[in-house]
């Protein structure tokens, strides 16, 4: 089976929402598809808008953008790097590690929160 790992980390209050786990990688899956699959498997709630290139995550497990301030929101990294591409556009390779991180402040000014607290 081809798989990637996905983890979701919230802010200090929420802590780790989803510990790193394997998710099956199917043909044509984007980061967005994988996220949804992972969350559903763990019975987590989420709110997204748009699809394809316009896919956008507004909230996961009740933690929403702007909850921590005007620049807070959800970002994702593949293998430790922010790709700057919409999650609905990027198709990962097997073995990639995808991290979803909630940034309380603008990335330019943030501390490294990493996965898990």
């Amino acid at each position: 089976m081809r798989a990637v790992t996905i983890s979701v980390a919230g802010n200090s209050e929420w802590g780790e929402i989803l510990e790193s786990r394997f998710v099956e990688l199917k043909d044509g899956d984007t980061v967005a598809d994988l996220l949804i699959r992972a969350l559903k498997a763990s019975k987590l709630a989420y709110e997204t808008s748009g699809s394809g290139a316009l896919f956008y995550v507004r909230g996961i497990d009740g933690l929403f953008e702007f909850d921590d301030g005007p620049t807070s929101g959800w970002h994702y990294r593949v293998n430790g790097k922010e790709l700057g591409v919409g999650a609905g556009s990027y198709k990962p390779e097997p073995g990639d590690a995808i991290e979803w991180i909630y940034e309380s402040e603008d990335p330019a000014a943030r501390d490294d929160k990493g996965t898990g607290t």
């Binding site: 559903k40 019975k43 709630a45 989420y46 709110e47 009740g62």
Partner: protein, 297 residues
């Protein structure tokens, strides 16, 4: 019972406090069980006033609104943390269901309250309150209330007669209809303005503008009004205190709290119900007097 008895006898200011409180707390006490109790109380009031007849005519739209919120909110909002099930890829959280339900209850409650408002707060009472605030506006409202039926009748007549000679909105091309419609409205307006001159004369002839006006409309503050207002204010104070302390509200977001009622919740509910049922005290009292008279006769 007619005006003069029961809840209908209450002074407009008392009614104002009642409804202001009812609505405010209906929005502050965001707990489905409390709102359910409130709704039941408001229904009881409605039932006592007119056997719920007015309410019945609203029941269908109300049910529609409730259903809409119940169904729509979970579909739109996914702010909760407890997922109930997935509709395709859409998570339905318990929190949004609870929120939708509470919103729906709040809406029906406020609507029911409003229906009883229309039964208790007559035009005169409302005008009385308004006149306190802005006497000119109250006069304007009374004048408008007199003018509108007259205008409606005149428009109807005008349209009927002009229809006979082809100036009508019910035949012809769209342009012709529009033009006719404009003609009719212009005609009505010019006519009404001319009439208004005569009305102005009539007003001035009776001294309008010669000095400050007094108000004919008046309601006496009686014992039952004093008692009711004290009760309402006391209840309001208690509810507010409980609410400020965190009681009476259900934690919904981000994670649904327990539906069990805390002590504060219970207290808020009971006091709120008492608040809402207060006008009924007079209904029961006066009605029992009537019964007593009838059985004595």
């Amino acid at each position: 019972m007619s005006e003069g008895f029961g809840a209908r006898a209450l002074h407009p200011v008392v009614l104002l406090v009642y409804y202001a409180g009812g609505i405010t707390f209906g929005m502050l006490l965001f707990h489905p069980v409390i709102l359910l109790a409130g709704w039941a109380a408001a229904l009881a009031v409605n039932f006592h006033l007119d056997r719920g007849r007015s309410w019945r005519s609203w029941s269908l739209p109300m049910a529609g609104g409730v259903l809409l919120l119940l169904v729509l909110n979970p579909l739109i909002s996914h702010r909760g943390r407890t997922v109930w099930f997935y509709l395709g890829d859409t998570p339905i959280t318990l929190e949004s269901v609870a929120y939708g339900a509470t919103m729906a209850l709040s809406l029906s409650f406020l609507l029911t309250l409003f229906i009883s408002y229309r039964l208790l707060m007559t035009e005169h009472k409302f005008l009385f309150l308004f006149a306190r605030v802005s006497p000119k506006f109250a006069l304007l409202v009374m004048m408008a209330a007199g003018l509108i039926p007259r205008l409606r009748r005149r428009m109807y007549e005008l349209m009927r007669i002009q229809r006979m000679r082809g100036v009508t909105v019910s035949e012809g091309t769209v342009l012709e209809r529009a033009r006719s419609g404009a003609r009719l409205v212009a005609s009505l307006l010019a006519w009404t303005l001319e009439d208004a001159l005569q009305t102005a004369d009539s007003m001035q002839a009776r001294g309008y503008g010669t000095g400050p006006r007094s108000a004919y409309l008046h309601f006496r503050f009686r014992i039952r009004d004093v008692v009711t207002i004290c009760g309402l204010l006391a209840a309001s104070g208690a509810i507010f205190a409980l609410w400020a302390g965190g009681g009476g509200v259900l934690e919904i977001y981000p994670r649904l709290g327990s539906l069990a009622l805390s002590g504060a919740d219970r207290a808020a509910m009971l006091i709120y119900a008492a608040f809402l049922l207060m006008p009924l005290i007079w209904e029961w009292r006066d009605r029992s007097k009537w019964q007593a008279l009838r059985s004595a006769a």
